[in-house]
């Protein structure tokens, strides 16, 4: 009697194990096909763990997500956060725009005239290799502590990838494409505007994407070292006051802004480089 019952239970266990395994495999397949679910899940898990682990830590040294959230609401209500964003936006936009315009201009000039290429090559390589943060005190001495100083610091960082990529893009244009222009009697200006520049656009966009990231670093550095203002200024103030929960608010805002802007440029980049990606796939 008891033997029979035991056999029966074993059978049902075996029967239910098979569908369970199939279930698990289906779940794994589904997760693999939906990377965003896994990504968001990982972030949520991280915050949960952080909340749990840091609850009892000394608030002077460490904080936890719900405290940061409370601080963020407080700062938004008081207008402090919006004010800081407004202060940061000005120099950042001007600095990034200048970096893009100057970078493309300088890159085009260096890429087009051998004399400029030869004369600037070593300077560019040296400047590119130097940590530009080391030059911040000097820039402040020249451009002051105001907007001009901040913009200068941002440009000193963000202009380089645009220069280097524009230059590389122009140098990399295939001779056979330029031959089309020559064979069909294009003027030098037409060859530049209708062949060289469009061919270099994917490179230039990649340079701009790097410039966004470096521009944000430049902004924070500038706000640390010049007139304490904006999001970087908030970080300095709160860390001096050991307001650790508040300190994390501008840090996270900067992180999210950086990721968002880079993503935006990546989308633009894809839009402009579609022909190039698929051309590469064919080879």
């Amino acid at each position: 009697m008891s033997e029979a019952v035991a056999t029966k239970t074993r059978e049902t266990a075996a029967e239910s194990a098979a569908p369970a395994r199939a279930h698990r495999r289906a779940l794994a397949e589904w997760l693999k096909a939906h990377p965003n679910v896994v990504r968001i899940g990982a972030v949520l898990l991280f915050f949960l763990w952080w909340e749990w682990a840091a609850r009892d830590a000394n608030p002077l040294f460490m904080t936890y997500p719900s405290a940061i959230w409370k601080a963020a609401l407080e700062m938004t209500e008081s207008g402090q956060l919006v004010e800081a964003l407004r202060q940061s936006a000005g120099p950042f936009v001007i600095g990034l725009a200048l970096s893009i315009v100057l970078g493309i201009l300088i890159g085009v000039l260096i890429g087009s005239f051998w004399i400029l290429e030869y004369t600037t090559e070593l300077f560019l390589a040296a400047l590119y290799a130097t940590p530009r943060v080391a030059l911040v005190p000097l820039i402040i001495l020249w451009a002051g502590l105001g907007t001009a100083g901040k913009v200068s610091i941002i440009v000193s960082l963000a202009v380089f990838p645009v220069i280097v990529n524009t230059y590389a893009g122009i140098k990399d244009v295939r001779g056979s494409l330029i031959d089309i222009g020559r064979a069909y009697c294009a003027t030098e200006t037409q060859i530049f505007l209708k062949i060289i520049l469009p061919a270099a656009i994917p490179y230039i966009m990649a340079g701009i994407r790097l410039a966004v990231g470096l521009g944000i670093i430049g902004l924070v550095v500038a706000e640390f070292f010049t007139a304490v203002q904006g999001l970087g200024g908030l970080i300095v103030t709160f860390s001096n006051n050991f307001a650790t929960a508040k300190l994390f608010v501008p840090v996270i805002v900067i992180g999210v802004l950086g990721a968002g802007l880079t993503q935006l440029v990546t989308l633009l980049e894809r839009r402009f480089s579609r022909w190039r990606l698929s051309e590469r796939e064919r080879q």
Partner: protein, 258 residues
């Protein structure tokens, strides 16, 4: 209409010292008449592409001259249009924009030039592909675009540099047939560079057989197949086999004496 007068060309060592230059072309003289298809046939390295680039005004000759209606060619001319070997389309431009590119360089208004481009896209058999981008087209279709771009200015002479060289055998035969038909319809004058004996014979009125190192004219053959039958049918004509043997021996003879 197009005359080549005793063309010499050498490629020198760095610095361009003429004395040490290796001769690439020597004493090339022949005429191309209006409406004629002439092939330049030779092994790779015989200078046939160099000769075409000299005709196009992309390279200067060391000696001799290319004359178009009696005027010497010194720079690229609007009435000599080139179809390149590797398709060479602008990859960021659509088909219609690629085909109308030469007219855009001439400063023609967009609507006018695109209307003309559409006409030639039709002629090369690509109706419906106007908005496509080069990477969306097969090799054969890309070269049809290249052909349409060459024709869009209604050139005096169409210069073609191994236009079917990069295509697979089946595509090549279809394209040769269509090309032959289009040239007859439009009465285009063509100078075609090729290394394929077969291609030269089925497409052209005359074949200029070039010897190697330095390239010089071995003989000019007139197969007379292109006007009578299609390129496909020409391969089956008895005359074709005889002609092909003759040209092959000419080319081989050159190689043993070199």
């Amino acid at each position: 209409m197009l005359e080549m007068r005793d063309i010499h060309k050498g490629f020198g060592a760095a610095g361009g010292a003429k004395r040490r230059a290796t001769p690439v072309l020597e004493g090339i003289t022949f005429d191309v008449h209006a409406g004629e298809v002439v092939s330049l046939l030779g092994a790779s390295g015989c200078g046939k592409t160099t000769l075409l680039r000299i005709v196009a005004g992309l390279l200067p000759a060391d000696r001799g001259a290319v004359l178009v209606n009696g005027q010497p060619v010194q720079a690229p001319r609007r009435d000599l249009c080139m179809v390149f070997q590797g398709f060479s389309l602008l990859p960021w431009r659509s088909v219609v924009s690629n085909v109308s590119f030469p007219l855009e360089l001439d400063g023609m208004a967009r609507e006018e030039r695109e209307a003309i481009a559409r006409k030639y896209i039709d002629i090369v058999g690509l109706r419906g592909c106007e908005k496509h981008y080069p990477h969306e087209l097969s090799g054969g279709m890309q070269q049809r675009v290249g052909l349409a771009r060459g024709l869009v200015r209604q050139p005096l002479v169409l210069l073609m540099d191994e236009p079917f060289g990069a295509l697979d055998a089946q595509t090549r035969e279809v394209l040769q047939d269509d090309f032959s038909r289009i040239c007859q319809e439009l009465r285009t004058t063509v100078v075609l560079v090729t290394h394929s004996i077969e291609e030269a014979l089925v497409l052209s009125d005359r074949v200029v057989v070039l010897g190697s190192r330095p390239g010089s004219i071995r003989r000019i053959v007139a197969p007379g197949l292109a006007r009578q039958v299609s390129a496909q049918e020409a391969r089956g004509v008895p005359q074709f086999a005889a002609c092909a043997r003759e040209v092959r021996e000419l080319l081989r003879g050159v190689e043993t004496t070199a």
